[in-house]
């Protein structure tokens, strides 16, 4: 197994740092999967056990790295899966924003390590400094790879573009204080409603004129408690009740400069949030619905 990569552009470096720091805030540990054409950061739910990944981030290596060499165990297993403490990785990358060059490689010291060599320009002289971080990693054996495959999800009933994440986050954070669960409702007419209901209050925030990417209607509402007060055609809306904390966590990804964020809903079952950036990075978050 061999891995070596070099990054020299400031833009990708900043983006890489932002992505890693966002992920480190979401989870203590993550899986770094290296493959010949992409690198992946995968987060499973904290309560260990075979659960499908909650967060899935893929980055095409060619837009980030100048050089990229990888040799897997054998020809059939070209990928490398590494278990890593995400805070270690993000702390090591803090200096990357001003760095000239980053070399990443897999090394064998006392334990397997992901070694980061960061070359820093010196403010006083022409010479540069070199900082080396050795981050201990756990090499994930092949038989466990299947746990970290991209989750296979049912076809979403609706995909709708989200409003500015920062704005959405302040609203969700207020709601989070009042209720642990929030209902996300999206309609084919481009409306997105966030709603909480407690004994003390019922609060709904409505966004309108959002772009609907796809709609696979009509939605069968026959088994749900009908709310007849809504004027709109219920067969054109679908909803899902999710954990407000998880939703808010994903929204902290707003510091990654992104093109757009799509929210896809499988009626009452699943919410998939997908953030895409200029560099073709895709950050996906899967939040399963809460059903009573």
């Amino acid at each position: 197994m061999k891995f070596r990569a070099v990054m020299i552009d400031a833009g990708p470096m900043r983006e890489f740092t932002n992505i890693v720091s966002t992920i480190s805030r979401l989870s203590k540990e993550c899986i770094l999967r290296l493959s010949p054409d992409k690198i992946y950061l995968i987060v499973s739910e904290d309560n260990s056990g075979p659960a499908p990944p909650m967060l899935w981030c893929e980055m095409p290596q060619s837009t980030f790295f100048l050089e990229y060499q990888i040799v897997g165990v054998d020809d059939e297993h070209k990928d490398i899966y590494l278990g890593i403490v995400s805070a270690n990785l993000s702390k090591s990358l803090v200096t990357l924003k001003t760095a000239k060059c980053l070399k990443m490689k897999l090394t064998k010291k006392q334990c397997p390590c992901l070694t980061l060599e960061i070359e820093m320009p010196s403010s006083t002289s022409q010479q540069s400094r070199q900082v080396t971080h050795d981050i201990p990693v756990v090499v994930i054996p092949r038989k466990m790879w299947s746990e970290f495959h991209e989750p296979r999800v049912p076809h979403p009933d609706i995909s709708i573009e989200l409003p500015a994440l920062k704005q959405l986050r302040t609203t969700i954070d207020r709601m989070k204080c009042m209720s642990p669960e929030v209902v996300i409702r999206a309609s084919a007419e481009g409306r997105l409603t966030l709603q909480i209901k407690t004994d003390l209050a019922k609060v709904s925030t409505r966004f309108k004129d959002l772009r609907v990417e796809a709609f696979e209607g009509p939605i069968d509402h026959s088994d749900s408690e009908t709310e007849t007060q809504t004027m709109e055609d219920v067969s054109r809306t679908c909803y899902c009740r999710v954990d407000a904390k998880k939703f808010s966590m994903f929204l902290s990804a707003d510091q990654i400069s992104h093109n757009r964020t799509i929210c896809s809903i499988v009626h009452k079952k699943l919410v998939i949030l997908c953030l895409q950036t200029e560099e073709n990075v895709k950050l996906q978050c899967f939040i399963t619905g809460i059903v009573y």
Binding site: P163, T170, K202
Partner: protein, 257 residues
């Protein structure tokens, strides 16, 4: 109302209990919070703060509401955002409706239904028969920094007011110490001073500290002491548009042992 921001900061200033009594009168809105039977805090929002304000005059609009939920709802778009606010209330038992719309985004709005409860009666601490023995007008930021400086572990605060120098002296008693702050009426922070004969009043410092959040958002504070020892603090919050909102604290004195 064009901006719910000041309203929210005023309500937050009296948020030391879970529930508040919400009362709508012809003159404006009033929210009252009580701590035991010792402290009563009210926030007044005069009707001229609203672009439109209607109250039916044949019924008493009065109910109990969770103040924490109310502030979260008012702040739903974050504290940086100015948002317009509409409030509706139909009748006893119906929820208080809020409709908020931020000024910088037009494609979003929030509506809240906050459940209400029938209000118990509010303490009537003011006694018309007792006369006022002293009145003091202070600058709120200066008074706040004075309270911040006081030792937090002290239980009792003694306020001595007298027509002679030093006109105001504040003494705190702690476990081991006694500290004293003198404030002559010529001091910068004293805007006006009225006291005919000297009085000594004792309060729980903890009660006085409840006003600190309100002081932080106010410009001016009026202290009134009545002959039965009841302390009334009236705080004025000035907004950019010259309209005013008030908060008011009644604090019951400690009796001599």
């Amino acid at each position: 109302m064009d901006s719910g921001k000041t309203l929210c900061s005023l309500i937050k200033a009296i948020q030391f209990q879970e529930c508040a009594v919400f009362c709508a009168m012809q003159e404006g809105l009033k929210l009252t919070v009580e701590e035991g039977k010792c402290v009563q805090a009210s926030a007044y929002i005069p009707a001229d703060n609203f672009n439109e304000y209607h109250v039916r005059d044949d019924v008493d609009v009065m109910f109990k509401i969770s103040i924490a939920v109310l502030t979260e709802c008012l702040n739903i778009f974050g504290s940086a955002e100015e948002s317009s606010l509409k409030m509706y209330y139909r009748c006893e038992g119906s929820p208080l409706l809020l409709v908020l719309q931020p000024q910088s985004f037009s494609n979003v709005m929030t509506d809240c239904e906050i459940s209400t409860q029938t209000a118990e009666s509010v303490l009537e601490l003011r006694d018309e028969d007792t006369e006022e023995v002293a009145k003091l007008v202070l600058k709120a930021p200066a008074f706040l920094s004075l309270l911040v400086d006081m030792e937090k572990t002290c239980d009792i605060i003694e306020i001595n007011l007298s027509p002679e120098h030093p006109n105001v002296s504040i003494v705190t008693y702690g476990m081991q110490d006694r500290s004293c702050i003198d404030m002559p009426k010529s001091s910068d922070m004293v805007q006006s001073f009225n006291c005919e004969k000297s009085v000594t009043l004792k309060y729980q410092l903890q009660h006085i500290r409840l006003i600190m959040k309100a002081l932080a958002v106010s410009s001016k504070v009026v202290l009134r002491c009545s002959s039965n020892g009841l302390l009334l603090l009236q705080l004025k919050l000035e907004k950019e548009d010259q309209r005013q909102m008030f908060s008011e604290f009644y604090i019951v004195p400690l009796l001599d042992d």
